[in-house]
């Protein structure tokens, strides 16, 4: 098959590179979602520990 003219070939080349970029962006988006969940878990853990410490301070005899 003869080589495609530049205007025709450009579409295919752009499509291929855009596929790569899209895959990369989807991966980063998924990973950033996981990172946000991790951050939320850490915040919750921190809050629960603070509550526990406050409870201990209020009632020092009742230690879990």
């Amino acid at each position: 098959m003869p080589a495609l003219p530049l205007d025709e070939a450009g579409k295919y080349v752009a499509a291929a590179y855009l596929v790569f970029l899209a895959l990369l962006l989807i991966y980063v988006a998924i990973m950033s979602g996981r990172l946000s969940r991790l951050e939320r878990d850490l915040t919750e853990l921190n809050r629960e520990l603070t509550e526990r410490d406050e409870q201990r301070a209020r009632d020092p005899e009742h230690v879990a």
């Binding site: 025709e8 295919y12 080349v13 590179y17 853990l45």
Partner: protein, 240 residues
């Protein structure tokens, strides 16, 4: 400690890939037969090589798990295979685009290179399913490692056999049958290959760091609060 050096590695990856693709479009000459379409080669082939190497690396990590029974090796194998699957998906799509532009067909079933790569991709597509089907963590890791080793050994054998086979259409990369590439093309290709390998390592380290941090949060939660929610649920991904 997988996050160590991640920023430097990410910067190096971005720099190498940018340089490689700048060279592709502004410096490397168009190929005589295919013209501008051949620029897909600098993306498609490095992705394919890195994906196949990632599958083999997953096999090596699986072997290490079987030898040591250390869950970290199972996680390393899982992440390597998972990333290779993403790259392999990219290889199949970019390959189909290149095929359509150069041969006039999206796919050719009589091309050993294409079909063998699809077989490898489909083989590894069962890896996640296998993992998810086994609830017991230790058994899951053991079976998945055996799979990774066997499939990892199959990849280079399959590749070598296909290269030795007679092919009518698919071009040979780094082969001697059709002659070597000109200097500019080879240099650009090698930089793109290094960039793709760095991207793989960066994403591998990133995902390892993320999974390791998640495991530490779960362990901390279980230790401090005795929270049952922190216990690992059924998942295809290994839990440290």
């Amino acid at each position: 400690m997988h996050g160590k050096g991640l920023r430097t590695l990410a910067l190096l990856t971005a720099l190498t890939l940018t340089a490689a693709y700048a060279l592709v479009f502004f410096w490397t000459p168009n190929e005589a037969d295919q013209g501008f379409v051949q620029k897909i080669f600098y993306l498609h082939v490095p992705m394919a090589i890195v994906a196949l190497c990632g599958f083999v690396a997953g096999g090596v990590a699986g072997l290490m798990y079987l030898r040591t029974r250390d869950g970290k090796w199972d996680l390393r194998a899982y992440v390597a295979i998972h990333l290779s699957q993403i790259l392999a998906c990219g290889v199949l799509i970019t390959g189909a685009i290149w095929a359509k532009a150069s041969w006039g067909h999206w796919w050719l079933w009589d091309e050993p290179m294409l079909v063998s790569f699809l077989i490898v991709f489909l083989l590894y597509a069962t890896y996640q399913v296998l993992r998810f089907s086994i609830e017991d963590r230790e058994r899951q890791a053991r079976y998945a490692s055996v799979f990774a080793v066997v499939a990892g050994a199959f990849v280079p054998i399959n590749f070598a056999v296909v290269r030795m086979a007679q092919s009518y259409v698919h071009p040979r990369t780094l082969g001697t049958t059709t002659g070597g590439m000109p200097g500019e093309m080879m240099l650009t290709f090698l930089i793109a290959l290094v960039g793709m390998a760095l991207l793989f390592v960066t994403l591998w380290k990133y995902e390892m760091a993320s999974k390791s941090a998640g495991a530490q949060v779960r362990a901390l939660r279980l230790r401090l609060l005795g929270d049952d929610d922190a216990l690992p649920r059924r998942s295809a991904a290994p839990m440290l």
